[in-house]
Symmetry: C2
Subunit: 363 residues, 2 copies
């Protein structure tokens, strides 16, 4: 059914393209810019699929990723990560060729950038709307104003708006949790959006996170959609209600190397090295992934659980039927907990027609 010898990321391009179209349509019908985050797939070839739905500008999570995608013809790239001033040489190289949008959240970085940047760059102020990872507090208009004023002292640092990642939506348990978190954020979004419209009407508010953008339907204080994970989705998104299991577009195919009848466990070549060690509570069990079996066109999920992962081994519990059906030397699949970690772990994707899509791993 599937011809592999070692753990391999398998994608279903039809599902990917359907996920892309759905999100693009949602952005278009709400009159929002769609600037997808490419950190999830990290593949030049897959990135090109977004050109088919009219995408002109993208998001990445590192300077290296910006360099990689600039080689695939992307001319307008936001690095949605606090500017790492130690990479200024590479930033200067990229900013000479394309429109580069950076994040700033402190006076220190603004000053360092003004001192070291050669060409004009755009920047967003990174806003913390409740996730509390990083960014300027959404209500701190004073700090925001001072940063904007200071940026005007150099023509090379061009303020273009605010960037928010509502990452605490990943802690939701279901759709209504996601919507509740969004409801709590919206009054703050409204205040910032209205302030921006009044004082900086040409700038935008960029908002990203797959859970909220998949589930919500009112975006009147947002100018730009910046989701990433939605192209593949994964078990975490399934568990928090962002997608159905049929929307998951990536699995990891693993050779079966041993079986243990007394505990209905299948041992695979496919461990933390291939899937990461991320796990979540799913359907009452600690889970490192959901098992699937492959057919000619893709895969079907089965009743079972990836119970543990060590460096190279996976342990999958299955029911009697599947246990008896699957043999050593067969291949079983795993829907990953977090698909964004796969490209750096596996380096490429394969589809059921054996097309290979390389990622930027070790670029």
């Amino acid at each position: 059914m599937i011809n592999i010898t070692k753990p391999t990321a398998i994608i279903n391009p039809t599902i990917c393209k359907s996920n892309i179209s759905r999100m693009a349509n949602k952005a278009n019908s709400n009159n929002k810019t769609f600037r997808p985050h490419f950190k999830t797939h990290q593949s030049g070839a897959i990135g090109n699929w977004f050109k088919d739905v009219g995408v002109k500008s993208i998001t990445v999570s590192s300077v290296i990723m910006a360099e990689y995608f600039s080689l695939y013809g992307w001319k307008n790239i936001t690095i949605a990560f606090p500017t790492n001033i130690l990479e200024i040489d590479k930033i200067n190289t990229i900013a000479k060729k394309i429109t580069l949008n950076l994040l700033i959240e402190s006076m220190e970085v603004l000053h360092l950038l003004q001192k070291k940047i050669h060409n004009k760059v755009n920047f967003f102020i990174k806003i913390d709307a409740g996730y509390h990872r990083t960014g300027v507090d959404i209500s701190d208009i004073k700090k925001i104003s001072v940063l904007i004023d200071e940026s005007k002292k150099s023509i090379k640092t061009n303020f273009i708006g605010f960037l928010i990642h509502n990452g605490h939506s990943y802690h939701a348990n279901n759709k209504s949790d996601i919507l509740n978190l969004y409801s709590n954020t919206r009054p703050h979004l409204k205040t910032l959006f209205q302030w921006k419209e009044k004082y900086h009407p040409k700038t935008i508010l960029s908002f990203g996170d797959t859970p909220t953008l998949s589930v919500a339907d009112n975006f009147n204080y947002i100018d730009e959609f910046r989701p990433g994970n939605f192209i593949f989705y994964d078990v975490m998104q399934l568990s928090i209600g962002s997608c159905s299991i049929e929307d998951i577009a990536v699995s990891v195919a693993c050779p079966i190397v041993a079986k243990h009848k007394n505990r209905n466990e299948i041992i695979t070549y496919g461990g933390g090295v291939h899937l990461s060690k991320e796990s979540i509570k799913y359907q009452g069990q600690q889970s490192y992934g959901i098992p699937v079996i492959y057919n000619e066109n893709g895969w079907t999920s089965i009743h079972g659980n990836v119970k543990s992962l060590s460096q190279e081994h996976g342990v999958i519990t299955v029911d009697d039927d599947i246990f008896n059906k699957m043999n050593i030397g067969d291949v079983i699949g795993v829907l990953p907990i977090h698909s964004c970690l796969l490209p750096s772990l596996l380096g490429s994707y394969t589809d059921m027609k054996r097309n290979i899509f390389h990622c930027m791993a070790n670029f």
Copy 2:
């Protein structure tokens, strides 16, 4: 103090070599073969350091890793992972050139191997001594005997002994836990060892896990030491009592990109992509690593905790002194929870003299 632009694995070769010597001396003084596991460092150049203490045979965790190290002149390699019959072509290629030792735990794999292998290979029977990941139960002498008898039907499958990974030692909380687990295993080891001495006196019992081999001192039912992690150790080993913090020989240097005074948090470029998402409870806190600061010769651990990791971001809590001392654009280090995951995540190590040691990543 340290000149990097992105997350980079930094090693201290002096500590590595001291860890190697200590374990080599322990094996030698107990008259045991020392067959180190190279899955931890996965580097040809670092592997060569073991030649200086007389090591002639090694362990790896995948067929690809065996191929890689065979190119560095290693002529006797054990793949300590259940034989993945789907990689038979590569196994045949390697077995033509070097002495290859495989693991077998089922009649299915033995028969598949006898059918498909071209040259003679050695094999260990993989034994489950209580970890319950995989292997034949240590007390199942019947299944063991049948496998050995069946192996003799082909001159190409040469039985050389038993291989045990006491991986449940990783769940220990301190040294006496490790020793207790080992004490529970020893009566079973004794039975198997004595049976082997009586019926298969030319075969060996290979035993591996860094915690037990670091802490125990009675090895009279073991012929071969097969530890891996001890070359670098890590926070997990520190937390279970296998090593002191001074024995940890690897850290990940991360650029500081933001600071949050109100919560004493430093934000780094250095996330799950670089450190993996593995975490443990350490000193009462959920920890993704211990922060360190670099000096001319290495690093010093500081009071603090890597509180969370997302894809590219790290969040490190520190005390006031360190918070005020460290600036955006500086580099802070992280002692990793699990060092064995670093080579596939980071691809190389650098030392304080800027020597670079490449790993087999994407070999």
